[in-house]
């Protein structure tokens, strides 16, 4: 391949022209279907990006680590169960063996207009959103951006819920919110410059006795992009009172959404279906669905409720 550069150092990668290639699960799909046509810079051979290790009281995960490795890692399973469940539930086993953590965080939108050769859009340098004008049944319910398709990254949503940070170019760190921006720029999925390499994911210290759940609403049993997906983390005391709650939702906005009002509500409440139902209702506050996405408001309710139950009951399954 003449348009491929295999970088072995960060400096080489940063100075090369082209889209970064890691596991290939996003980029090769777009190339086969003529949506990406420029050069490629393979960053898989850059040293030091393939480890999961204890770091600063928490853990750090190299950006080249695969989803499967995260899902199987004993420390991640123990300390960040919501991440392990999600990493083991999304896509398919083959994809999880190939896709890198960095790649899934920075993947391009799954919008069927964006991935269609015949259409241009804000994310392809155009000046319109054909989905807004056309079919947007899989679109957002929090309409804050000119582009109406939700952010694609499950792992991004979960890491945001874990207050993770990412390291860029081995030099600086930023929060997940900073990585994704405020959800108003319809032209891109994240705020990194084209030459920025996401090098590490930094997880803060684990929360003791955390119960976590991840669930996605889909139409079939498995292997489908989420209509709505939720990450929930709870700590419950001996009296079944919630002492810690973190809930995030994906598939509904241009960037993954944290739900602080839901967290605030849950803390101090008994871990019961009644509490979860109120929390689920709160999760829908402020929704301004598009003409075809009203159903997703109901799915936010249902998925938040379900995922809180899963978290509380420690159900280790993200689909089905």
């Amino acid at each position: 391949m003449t348009n491929l550069i295999i970088a072995t150092t960060l400096a080489e990668a940063r100075n090369a022209e082209g889209e970064f290639l890691a596991g290939g699960t996003d980029l090769m799909d777009r190339r086969r279907h003529h949506v990406s046509t420029g050069g490629m810079v393979d960053i898989c051979r850059i040293a030091g990006l393939g480890e999961i290790e204890a770091h600063a009281g928490g853990y750090r995960i190299g950006s080249q680590v695969t989803l499967d490795a995260v899902a199987q890692h004993p420390a991640i399973i123990d300390h960040y169960p919501g991440l392990a469940i999600a990493a083991g539930a999304l896509a398919t086993p083959q994809i999880r063996s190939m896709a890198s953590m960095g790649g899934v965080l920075l993947q391009t939108t799954r919008c069927w207009y964006f991935r269609h050769e015949a259409f241009t859009c804000y994310k392809k340098g155009g000046d319109s959103c054909p989905s807004r004008e056309g079919d947007h049944r899989f679109g957002v319910v929090f309409d804050t951006s000119p582009c109406v398709f939700p952010h694609p990254s499950t792992i991004g949503m979960v890491l945001m819920n874990y207050a993770a940070q990412v390291e860029i170019n081995g030099e600086r760190t930023m929060t997940m919110q900073e990585l994704y921006g405020g959800g108003t720029d319809g032209t891109r999925e994240h705020t990194l410059a084209p030459s920025d390499v996401l090098t590490q994911i930094i997880l803060p210290a684990a929360v003791n006795a955390e119960r976590a759940g991840y669930f996605r609403s889909i139409s079939r049993a498995r292997a489908e992009w989420a209509l709505v997906e939720v990450s929930a983390r709870l700590v419950v005391d001996d009296n079944d009172q919630i002492t810690f709650a973190r809930v995030a939702v994906g598939g509904v906005a241009p960037v993954p959404m944290l739900l602080p009002t839901v967290n605030d509500y849950l803390v101090g409440k008994p871990a019961t279906d009644e509490s979860f139902a109120v929390a689920a209702e709160l999760a829908t506050a402020g929704a301004n669905p598009l003409p075809q996405t009203g159903y997703k408001v109901k799915l936010i309710y249902g998925t938040v409720f379900d995922t809180l139950q899963r978290a509380y009951n420690r159900i280790w399954s993200g689909e089905g």
Binding site: M1, L4, I6, L21, G23, G24, T25, M28, D29, R31, R32, H33, D42, C44, A91, T92, P93, Q94, I95, S97, M98, R110, W112, Y113, R115, H116, E117, A118, F119, P130, E133, G134, D135, R137, S217, I218, S219, R220, A221, R222, A223, E224, W225, L227, G294, Y295, K296, K298, L299, G302, T303, F305, D306, G320
Partner: protein
């Protein structure tokens, strides 16, 4: 780059393709690995990389550097794996195109499982989780579950296995050759230029730039004088070049001037006052979505109405009955139902490889359901004698009705090859295939039913407004005429043409949609009047075969124990639904079965093709049964037009066409052998025996007997059934075309479905299906059962998941990949129980008919009725996706 593949060291040069699948298929010629979706969803391209299954369509080729790769070819001969033996024994395959991927993944799972669990049997859930990255369009999942569980439990660790299909070994080892796998010397890549506009007049096509490009060997375009394209994806030019990239560049270099015309998408828009007239004066060119002849009709701009009213002479009376009953204040049921478009998306796309020789003879490898018919179509199109055309299709990666015609890829391959005298292959991409490769028409079905005080049918009015894109000739309302009797009827079919790709016949054309409406209507009427749904149906028919199916339903535990409708307030609600299907059948009178003997044994030949329907197995079994030998000792050769005329695999006609002549040929051959051998060997006291020739010296088996005499040949033609004509309603049925004959009698199916509806998330799962059919004698029960499993699964797809979606402003199909278009996966497969009445159809030679269409017809309606039973929600629109159901559930409260 160095890579170890199947224990061979490969060294690749600078020019790597981008993905591993292209490297494996095109540079290593290991074509058992299939490239289907190109998005990592279907798993057909799965290979083991250092022991881990990966989708090679997304794996960058250069990532294989230094790796140890195993493709399906590594698992053959003495390396045949227990999982492959299990897949053969449990018939976990049909067309076989997805099979190498499943086998590779299954092998990895088995190896992992054994280490962790020994010979413990994995649950269905565990198997489904492991195989979640694979899709099978035929729906062979039931066999795959059984095979994986049995293999992991150690049942196939020994060498012994009995394959259900005679061609199973080729399929599980990746040796089965499909059209996409043909690699002829000097073969070029052909590509088709398609309209980017839903409606446009082509003013000019300039091929000159493309012609000048290095590596471009041929270009071709349709005459563009007044050429109007009416849908996105309509083909009109093509190129052949040395490789994919050059062919793509050449397509891009073709300059086309379009005059954009206004377009419409959807029934309502097409019928609106201001809609453009899509066919205008060219209505005679309108393509047909039908399998048989186009019925006469009349046009009102974009609305075409069939002149044939299946209601016979009483449509006026039907309306009068309804009007009178309404006047009297009696209840009349009236409801509109809607169906989305179901795409065939066979895993092998519509593809062809053509090569002309110096005698003006063309050989065409093609993924088709109809080699014999295609031979004539090609001869006619290219204006050459029939005998100068050879069509070959050894294995076909699914068809489901979309590969019956002379499709554009065949014309392009043949036309381009003729221009450059080199072999040309044309293989559409998955987005092309999913855009224009065929869909089951959707539309609106308006139904009105009036009954007398005893609930007997007084009037049935059905108006089908079918949307098959630019195509016409839908027959949907007619379904109201079969199955139930009595009352006046007005059954009227309309086509509403609009600017998207033509619909094509799809497994029981018109049937699932019509039954979606009719069988749900019956269920609703029964509910409204507090009647038992079976008791109500008994009032509508007295056909004996149906009565027996009603008995079967009433005796079924699942039906007896069904919940009260909408009685649960739980989040997860179970429901049971029933529906019935009825179908006509075709057969081909001209089919000839040739049976030969030689020193090597028996050989059966006919120019049919095995699309996964198992015709090779049917021919082998029916021959073997007569001779009392194993089916594997009969050589079956199909898929080549040098053989005598064989049936198209469409209209469920194969079984009814081939079984009787095969049995007759075998019986005649056996009689002939007896006479010849007894005489030649001068056997004492020679006596005819099922096993062979019994004589004073012992028993001479039939296989040994045929070695004693020169090779013999018997040819038997199918011919017609005794009674040629019959009436369906008032419409005269009989000979439909060249080789298509309407058979007599009806086949019937009963389906009980159990669903679980998650009312919180609007999600429906089919848990169990009980399926019972009456299609006469079942000649090969395990093939019939596998076909039925597939029909159930495709019916579930129709009911719950599958929908082609179009962008209205641009007329572009949006569901052009297997992520956004959702076919059922293994985890969506219910537990299925399939049974047969096994009656004898005395009016049919051989006593039984095909059932591949029948089996799928009532499935979707049974699922919808089960959803009603669970929730009290009548789902008039298919598919019942969460985005639809959650709104209905919330509206109900």
């Amino acid at each position: 780059m160095k890579t170890r593949i199947n224990n061979t060291e490969y060294t690749f040069g600078e020019h790597l393709p981008e993905t591993a699948v292209d490297l494996i298929r095109n540079q290593c010629n290991l074509v058992g690995t299939k490239q289907v979706c190109g998005s990592g969803v279907c798993g057909a391209c799965t290979v083991l990389v250092d022991g881990t299954p990966m989708v090679s369509c997304l794996l960058p080729a250069h990532h294989l550097e230094g790796k140890d790769v195993q493709t399906i070819e590594a698992f053959s001969g003495e390396n045949l794996h227990p999982v492959q033996r299990a897949l053969m024994a449990h018939d976990g395959l049909q067309c076989g195109y997805c099979t190498p991927g499943f086998a590779i993944e299954g092998i990895a799972f088995y190896e992992r499982w054994r280490v962790e669990h020994g010979t413990e049997r994995p649950s269905r859930e565990e198997v489904a989780e492991a195989l979640a990255g694979h899709l099978c369009r035929c729906g062979a999942y039931a066999g795959i579950y059984d095979a994986m569980q049995a293999a992991c439990a150690g049942e196939f660790d020994g060498e012994d296995y009995t394959p259900q299909r005679v061609d199973a070994l080729e399929k599980v080892t990746g040796q089965a050759q499909y059209t996409t796998d043909i690699r002829l010397e000097g073969q070029l890549v052909g590509k088709v230029l398609r309209s980017p506009h839903p409606h446009a007049r082509i003013l000019s096509i300039d091929l000159s730039e493309a012609d000048k490009m290095e590596g471009v060997e041929a270009t071709a375009a349709l005459p563009h004088r007044n050429l109007v394209v009416r849908y996105v994806g309509q083909p009109f030019a093509a190129v052949a070049a040395v490789d994919e990239a050059t062919a793509q560049a050449a397509l891009n270099a073709i300059k086309v001037a379009y005059e954009i015309l206004p377009h419409v998408i959807g029934i309502d828009a097409a019928l609106a006052e201001d809609a453009p007239d899509i066919w205008g004066k060219q209505r005679r060119d309108a393509v047909s979505a039908a399998e048989g002849a186009t019925l006469p009709g009349y046009w009102d701009k974009n609305l075409r109405t069939s002149r044939v009213n299946m209601g016979g002479l009483l449509p006026g009376k039907a309306h009068k009955v309804v009007a009178d009953m309404r006047k009297q204040g009696k209840s009349v049921y009236s409801q509109s139902y809607y169906n989305g478009f179901q795409v065939h998306t066979a895993l092998e796309p519509h593809c062809a490889v053509a090569l002309w020789d110096e005698t003006d003879h063309v050989t065409v490898y093609v993924s088709t359901q109809a080699i014999s018919a295609l031979k004539y179509y090609i001869a006619e199109y290219f204006d050459i004698p029939d005998e100068q055309v050879t069509v070959i299709a050894q294995h076909i990666g699914g068809g489901f009705g979309a590969k019956l015609a002379l499709f554009p890829e065949v014309i392009a391959a043949i036309g381009l090859s003729r221009r450059c005298n080199k072999p040309v292959s044309v293989v559409p991409s998955r987005p092309e295939e999913m855009s224009i490769g065929g869909m089951r028409p959707g539309g609106r079905f308006e139904i009105t039913i009036a009954m007398d005080d005893d609930f007997k049918l007084e009037a049935l009015i059905a108006r089908a407004y079918s949307d098959s894109g630019v195509a016409i000739s839908n027959v949907t309302a007619m379904m109201g005429a079969i199955g139930y009797s009595g009352g006046a009827r007005d059954l009227q079919d309309h086509d509403v043409v609009n600017n998207h790709a033509p619909g094509q016949p799809f497994r029981g054309p018109g049937g699932p949609g019509a039954l979606w409406s009719l069988e749900q209507s019956i269920d609703q009427i029964a509910h409204d009047h507090q009647l038992d749904p079976i008791a109500l149906r008994r009032k509508w028919t007295d056909a004996e075969n149906l009565r027996k199916l009603y008995d079967w339903v009433e005796a079924s535990e699942a039906w007896i124990n069904r919940p009260q409708t909408a009685s649960s307030t739980e989040r997860f609600r179970r429901g049971i639904g029933v529906a019935f299907g009825h179908w006509v059948h075709y057969y081909d009178t001209e089919v000839v079965i040739r049976l030969n003997t030689s020193e090597n044994g028996l050989r059966v030949t006919t120019a049919t093709q095995d699309i996964g329907n198992g015709v090779r197995t049917t021919l082998a079994r029916k021959t073997a049964e007569v001779f009392g030998i194993s089916p594997t000792s009969v050589q079956v050769d199909v898929g080549h037009t040098d053989y005598p005329h064989g049936p198209t695999a469409g209209g469920s006609r194969t079984t009814a066409s081939v079984v009787a002549p095969t049995q007759r040929a075998a019986t005649l051959m056996r009689e002939r052998l007896f006479g010849l051998v007894a005489e030649a060997l001068d056997l004492e006291n020679a006596q005819f025996d099922e096993q062979g020739i019994r004589h004073s010296g012992g028993l001479l088996s039939w296989l040994d007997a045929m070695k004693q005499v020169p090779p013999q040949e018997v040819e038997i033609k199918r011919g017609p059934d005794p009674q040629l004509m019959q009436y369906v309603g008032s419409f005269l049925m009989g000979r439909m075309g060249l080789d298509l004959m309407f058979g007599q009698g009806r086949s019937h199916a009963a389906v009980i479905a159990e669903v679980e509806v998650d009312t919180l998330l609007g999600k429906t799962r089919v848990m169990r299906v009980w399926h019972q059919m009456d299609a006469g004698r079942i000649h090969v029960p395990d093939m019939a059962r596998s076909a039925t499993y597939g029909g159930i699964i495709q019916g579930i797809g129709f009911a719950l998941y599958e929908e082609k979606i179009l962008d209205v402003p641009h007329g572009q199909p949006l569901t052009t990949n297997l992520q956004d278009y959702r076919i059922p996966s293994i985890g969506d497969t219910p537990e299925m129980t399939v049974g047969f009445q096994d009656s004898e159809f005395e009016h049919v030679k051989g006593g039984g008919i095909g059932l591949s269409e029948l089996c799928t017809l009532p499935v979707a309606a049974a699922v919808a009725n089960a959803v009603f039973n669970a929730t009290g929600i009548r789902c008039v629109e298919s598919p019942i996706k969460p985005e639809r159901l959650i709104d209905a559930l919330n509206a109900k409260g």
